[in-house]
Symmetry: D2
Subunit: 302 residues, 4 copies
């Protein structure tokens, strides 16, 4: 096994795999449900297909397979139109690709500092060819908690922020004040930058960069003890970043050092348009063993 | 295109793709949230991996891909341990297989009567190689509504019902009476048969048959206007079925004729053990375009 | 099984799966070997990668998987750099896609007239989800026979023929005369149109159409009893074809009615440039069960 | 890029990617063709399917896709039975898995000593996610040369040698003497151990070990300047090996230090049964960019 090396235990203790999801208490779940008054459900996911904005080696392909052309050969009892007197046919899909695409939740087994994951696990400790033995996406439980949206674009007075434009703590405080909402421990804090409008209209530009938070807000998120965060961008944090020599420093720090979960490519525009800044956030996802992400479509319920 | 042929419009109108999910109103969502009192979240999904119970041509494979071995070649700035001064590395997965495996929600584009899908669409109307243009799983919105569990095994006084054992309407009425809970329109009605206990312990036996409802309960579910149903079995409905010449007649009828959504391989044992018969049911899933199913892990919240 | 319907037996008898490869006799193999005088080997295959000219639903993806990042976890005896004292590491690939891409040999289970394959087999007779039980590419034996190249572009006095430009029997006779070579039963007859020059330079134009033979030459090929044919184009036969209402009529007729094998996207330019019109043709390929094609790189040896 | 470190250039020079295939000269090709007298073609490949003997993370899956169920939707001109007046339909396959399975040729980019490949290239020099930029299987040209079979089982007087049983140089000399054949530079030297008989009859036992050469014969093969080697076993060299602390030391040494190509899982039984010890060996394969192996079915022609 790996040579043991010193490591600081995470805030949630050595051996913890839940990270900031530990902040969600039963009381928090109950309080979140109390926020549901209109019965309106907002879908925060984008549909995934082969041509969504992506990087060259992150692909998604689906091919349908019909039983119709083989049903007779396989089912002697058939009258030709399907299986049995009820004429049963079915269609299935064959998919291939990565979960690091589309609207996604990254597992804590995705990013590393060197070969370190959250809580000090090393690749040689947990990585198998079929997946990781720790921190896989199946370790993430269903999430029901309070959600808050920070409309950073609205605060900046623009429809869409610019690539590399950094959201500061002052921005967040001001935006929350304007929205008459406060952040509490265990919340899911989402950011609307307007960048998502390019998802369909200009995929190449969409992936060329993005606005987002800087390290100051990253540290603040940890202090606030938020349970999860995310934005309408393909990564999380401004790209290009504050320090050109530290690529993707924001998500790396949040995932690996703090165990803070991040969601990418969220469809936040409807929430922003409706001014729905506080809601019950719900997320359930595919529990595929050892995966580094889940393709998701969480919901905000008001 | 297809030759047009007569077809009865569904209860929800010609062109409808939501089926029984139309039964979930905003008032229903609000009422469901009111059921959350303890803040306990039950995970109804089973972890998916290559060796779960499956049929030969339904497979799931995942392989991890590490950036570590290529980071230097691709990132000249790297010091060897990762990209940039922050020593960034990442791991992704490559998955391949079908969503018709594990804990799943079937789309209304999965089963057919002959070449007919729900609302009379034919394969030649909606099937493309990349997916279906109608009724794909991405058309299913996030689900938040009241959930009810029928513990059929408890009513029968057994830990696990037998393959082919049929749950009757009388059973359902009696079980609901014993559980002091009633079914309402827009509910998600789940069945616990105990069969799921074989998921890990005896995969071959698990897929060899199953207990479940018969056509009588199927029609009753439609009358009750339930929004979704499901069980701790790999299909839905007793296998072998009531009519050996009509294989999978229950799910075929519910999906195609009535647009009633079905979930399979649910992990209902914790709910049953806790006697949690009424709850807020939440389901969000991967919106992959034109897929015939979603691999899911819905939650029951009390 | 399928309803039986009348069908003409193929020239090689009912139940035959070898089609025109029956024309290759041991004497033909010996004679082909006798053609080798210079010891020059021409590679007729193009390298396959994700970005070769292709149609939307015909894709090819490869991802490398390194043992290096998991070797320690899986091999306790390792010193960290690899497995064992010999420090063993390895890399493998995961591929996904279709064999109907790149330089390929189509099986007789690829094209159909209605639901008929060569020798009258129907889809319901031979198609399973994992492959076909008859006519799969694994039924094609290693091929060693005489090869002849028809340089149609040279005969027309152009570097590259035009899309839809049809090669006639008169063209073939004249070209063979100019090249001082004749066609014999059991030969592999290849056509050079110059179209292949667009493979790398203009993939979109390459797949937009192609020059090739018409039905007259197709019938002539059958009369000549050639064992295989092929060209430097993505299909075989002019596109657009002679009859706009009969798409891909040439390969459909050759494959289904006559069992004549066709190779696509051959790299014929080196042969043409060298004036190598007669050679020993050799082809061995991946025997993947029930596949509809093989990705190949045959050789011409002079 | 990688830190440069000292390395011995290979026998064929720094930067060489052909390894021992450099031993095959035009004269050698001509001489090989002269060996063809009977016109008998032996197929040395085994059919690949999902259930061949394999290791857990080396899989092969194929699913057929029929155009029949989508032809109408996609081809308005169709009469329902296919596309156009010629009623065209087609079937394609979708494959997924690794080429490190079945009868295969390993590329020199498969095995490493630490992170070194043949000629000193390191993973960080040539490994990209899509494949390797050097030593990929597409760099292997078509092979036509003299082939020789060593029937080691016959020499030992057994039908099938035992796992871990080591073939010595004395064995090879004696066997060749008994077979009245000698080895020459540029030959492909194949070994028949009889182990291949377990391929279909007992897959689990087949992969549990194997007979094969030891390091003595490995070094002798290099001295003899053979162009390629291979056997009827899943790896090459006895397993368990001579030195339990040096797993797979034979293929690692031949590939990495000497650039000697190895074929696995060859179907040698027909050659052995026929006493065909000398032949023209031909191999053409799929030129998939950057792959670590090719699934092959080479031929021996007498």
């Amino acid at each position: 096994m790996c040579a043991r090396e010193p490591w600081w235990p995470s805030r949630y203790g050595e051996g913890d795999e839940l990270g900031t999801l530990n902040e969600i208490t039963p009381a928090k779940v109950v309080a979140a449900a109390r926020l549901v008054r209109a019965g309106t459900v907002y879908d925060l996911g984008r549909t995934l297909h082969a041509n969504v904005p992506r990087f060259e080696d992150r692909f998604w392909q689906q091919t349908l397979v019909s039983s119709a052309h083989i049903i007779n050969a396989r089912r002697p009892g058939s009258d030709g139109g399907g299986w049995g007197r009820n004429n049963l046919n079915w269609i299935t899909e064959l998919v291939t690709g990565t979960f690091q695409i589309g609207t996604q939740l990254d597992g804590l087994n995705h990013l590393q500092i060197g070969d370190r994951f959250y809580n000090g696990w090393r690749a040689c400790d947990i990585v198998e060819q079929w997946g990781t033995t720790k921190l896989g996406i199946e370790k993430v439980p269903p999430v029901v908690t309070r959600g808050v949206l920070v409309d950073a674009a609205r605060h900046r007075g623009v429809a869409r922020m610019e690539p590399g434009e950094v959201i500061t703590v002052a921005d967040v405080h001001a935006a929350l004040r304007e929205q008459h909402v406060a952040v509490e421990p265990g919340d899911v804090l989402l950011f609307h930058t307007g960048w998502g409008a390019l998802w369909d209209s200009d995929p190449a530009r969409f992936t060329s960069g993005e606005p987002g938070i800087g390290m100051e807000v990253a540290e603040w998120l940890v202090e606030q003890r938020v349970a999860m965060t995310g934005a309408d961008t393909w990564s999380f944090g401004a790209v290009p970043g504050e320090d050109p020599e530290r690529p993707f420093f924001v998500p790396q720090t949040l995932n690996v050092e703090h165990g803070l979960f991040i969601m990418e490519n969220l469809a936040t525009e409807a929430l922003a348009a409706a001014g729905a800044y506080e809601f019950m956030f719900v997320l359930t996802h595919h529990k595929t063993r050892g995966s580094t992400a889940a393709v998701i479509a969480p919901a905000a319920v008001t």
